[in-house]
């Protein structure tokens, strides 16, 4: 489902060139559960950003469901992102002036889904993440764990095949972190491809396939 071929990603920082990804080759099948580990600065986030189509490789090719997505234009990329990929951030990134329900609704708004359908799907998503009572709460009225659950509901509301999480428990206490991981794994068991970046070795061990990164290279084990 995901195939990366000779992916390089370089950043120009002043005079210097930082090679964040160095000749990455990777194939991921539908429904896999993958953890990405490695020291800080090894290129984990960059890899995920490329997979999520938020970033473009400097060179190399990326096939998503057989389609070469490195050739797509901005508007098409946005659509693929909207329909196929759910992204979960370490710092939640909820829009503070919107309620939990409105935040979850956002991707459907961007996709142009009719209001009626949106409302029922939001309701369902809220109950799935156990926040039915919090629909009208603003993000500053929610705990970190609750915020991340809203973010997960938002990431999955378009029923994407791929769920990407960049240190989703990094800002949470261990209890809420565990809950979040359970929620993500539950989704994976329903058939979603799950890729999690983590610093937590225990968490990483839970994945069927573990990727290790160092200096922009993949060290599969």
């Amino acid at each position: 489902m995901i195939a990366l071929e000779n992916i390089n990603r370089c950043f120009e920082v002043g005079e210097q060139t930082v090679q964040a990804l160095n000749d990455i080759n990777l194939e991921i099948d539908a429904g896999e559960y993958i953890s990405v580990m490695g020291p800080s600065g090894s290129g984990k986030s960059t890899l995920l950003n490329i997979i999520s189509l938020m970033d473009q490789p400097t060179s190399g090719r990326y096939f998503l469901n057989g389609e070469d997505v490195t050739r797509l234009q901005d508007q098409q990329l946005a659509q693929v992102r909207n329909k196929n990929i759910g992204f979960i951030f370490q710092s939640f990134h909820l829009i503070p002036r919107m309620t939990a329900a409105e935040n979850i609704e956002l991707p459907m708004m961007l996709a142009g889904i009719p209001v009626k359908q949106r409302k029922s799907r939001v309701k369902q998503a809220l109950s799935q993440v156990g926040l039915s009572e919090r629909a009208k709460h603003l993000s500053n009225q929610l705990s970190g764990g609750q915020r991340q659950r809203v973010a997960i509901a938002r990431a999955t509301i378009m029923q994407p095949a791929i769920l990407l999480a960049d240190e989703p428990t990094g800002n949470l206490d261990s209890h809420s972190g565990r809950e979040i991981v359970q929620l993500l794994e539950q989704l994976q068991q329903q058939g979603v491809t799950l890729i999690i970046i983590t610093h937590d070795a225990d968490l990483g061990q839970r994945a069927q396939r573990q990727l290790h990164m160092a200096d922009g290279r993949l060290v599969e084990q």
């Binding site: 950003n49 999520s52 938020m54 970033d55 901005d74 508007q75 990329l77 946005a78 659509q79 992102r81 909207n82 329909k83 992204f87 951030f89 990134h93 829009i95 002036r97 919107m98 956002l106 991707p107 708004m109 961007l110 996709a111 142009g112 009719p114 209001v115 938002r154 378009m158």
Partner: protein, 401 residues
């Protein structure tokens, strides 16, 4: 994205930053209200002046001696003066069947007195037809009687001011009025003509044309006024008048004929361009509003960078971000425009209270134009910030705090 969602999202952002929104709305309000007030003033002035000229009479032809030089051609040879217009010319012109009424006019100034009261007054010599041609009302008595142009008669018709000043509380009809050293019997008093273009009929004394020529010992005419039977007849009569004058003036049609509609048209054009010029100057305030919108939106883009990044991550393309920002700018300035029009209307009503004689109209086209201009301003000045937002890289945007 559904259009209503676009408006909803824009509305939410607007309410989240009330200070910013207020600033933009106020700037737009000031811009649009000043434009609409000045347009209304110009328009009202135009319709007032045009109305005044139309009130002069209908299908009016004004003839004066000498050719207007605007036609071009050779300037008159040194020493040559245009031939005078005479009563005989007027009589000849009066034969044209297309004309309904014709009034020759001489003008002079002389002291008028009665019972020890004296003042200087404008003396107009004319004929009975003047009343019809100039749509004059009589308050009392009768107008100059219909008679031959060459026949003098010691009668006069006086304006309101003359009546009030010389015959304060007295009956004026039938009394003698002395002009220079001649006496004229007052046979009529003009109605209140109010402000009228050209001559103030309130301060005038009208006597038969022949009497005036004798009084001033001047046998050339100041003007000949004629009313044509229709607008079509007016143009045809103008041609015929030229022919007649040419015959009578040794092959020279040395006469200027102004048709009333051309005067109206000229003033209309002048005042319209004046209105547009003034409106254009007021338009500068709209540009100022536009620049303000641009700046405020740029700040907003910077403040909302992370949010824009998130929207992109969730599947918003450039086009959607662009649309979001432009919708926001358009909504804000449209609100400002509506408020501006309302403010303008209120100001005009206030002016009407202060100057009840005037009607201030803000024409519908101007209101619609104001709305359109506001939106266009918002879009033009909003495009740059919106583009900046749309071009943001999602990763960099998201990681900025």
């Amino acid at each position: 994205m559904i259009v209503s969602d676009l408006f909803l999202l824009a509305l939410k952002t607007i309410f989240a930053q009330p200070f910013r929104a207020t600033l933009i709305i106020i700037a737009m309000t000031i811009g649009i209200s000043s434009v609409s007030i000045l347009t209304a003033l110009g328009e009202s002035a135009r319709s007032f002046v045009v109305g005044e000229f139309q009130a002069l009479g209908t299908n009016l032809l004004i003839m004066m001696p000498g050719r207007s030089e605007t036609v071009g051609g050779q300037p008159p040879v040194l020493g040559e003066t245009p031939r005078d217009l005479t009563l005989d010319d007027a009589k000849a012109i009066a034969q044209i069947p297309l004309l309904k009424a014709i009034a020759p006019i001489t003008i002079g100034s002389a002291p008028v007195s009665t019972a020890g009261l004296e003042r200087e007054a404008t003396i107009m010599g004319s004929s009975a037809a003047l009343r019809e041609v100039r749509h004059l009302d009589l308050a009392r008595g009768q107008f100059i009687p219909t008679m031959d142009f060459d026949k003098a008669a010691p009668v006069c018709v006086i304006g309101q001011t003359i009546k009030e000043e010389l015959f304060a509380n007295r009956q004026s009809l039938g009394e003698w009025l002395r002009i220079n050293d001649r006496r004229y019997r007052v046979i009529g008093v003009l109605g209140n003509t109010g402000q009228s273009v050209g001559v103030g009929f309130d301060e005038i004394v009208i006597i038969p044309i022949a009497s005036a020529q004798m009084l001033f010992n001047n046998y050339s005419l100041f003007r000949i006024l004629a009313e044509a039977k229709s607008q079509q007849a007016m143009y045809q009569a103008s041609e015929q008048i030229r022919k007649i004058i040419k015959l009578r003036h040794e092959g020279e049609d040395d006469i200027t004929i102004i048709t009333q509609d051309s005067v109206v048209q000229t003033f209309n054009d002048i005042l319209l361009s004046l209105t547009l010029a003034v409106t254009g100057i007021a338009g500068i305030s709209l540009v100022v509003a536009g620049v303000l919108i641009m700046n405020v939106m740029l700040v907003s883009v910077t403040q909302r960078t992370a949010e824009i990044g998130l929207l992109k991550a969730l599947g918003a393309g450039r086009r959607q971000i662009l649309a979001l920002f432009l919708t926001e700018a358009a909504m804000l300035s449209l609100t400002g425009a509506v408020l501006g029009i309302l403010t303008g209307q209120a100001a005009l009503h206030l002016l009407e209270l202060i100057y009840p004689d005037f009607t201030f109209i803000l024409p519908l086209w101007a209101q619609l134009a104001a709305l359109l201009i506001a939106v266009v301003t918002a879009l033009v000045f909003g495009v740059m910030p919106a583009y900046k937002a749309a071009a943001l890289d999602p990763i960099t945007a998201l990681n900025r705090h």
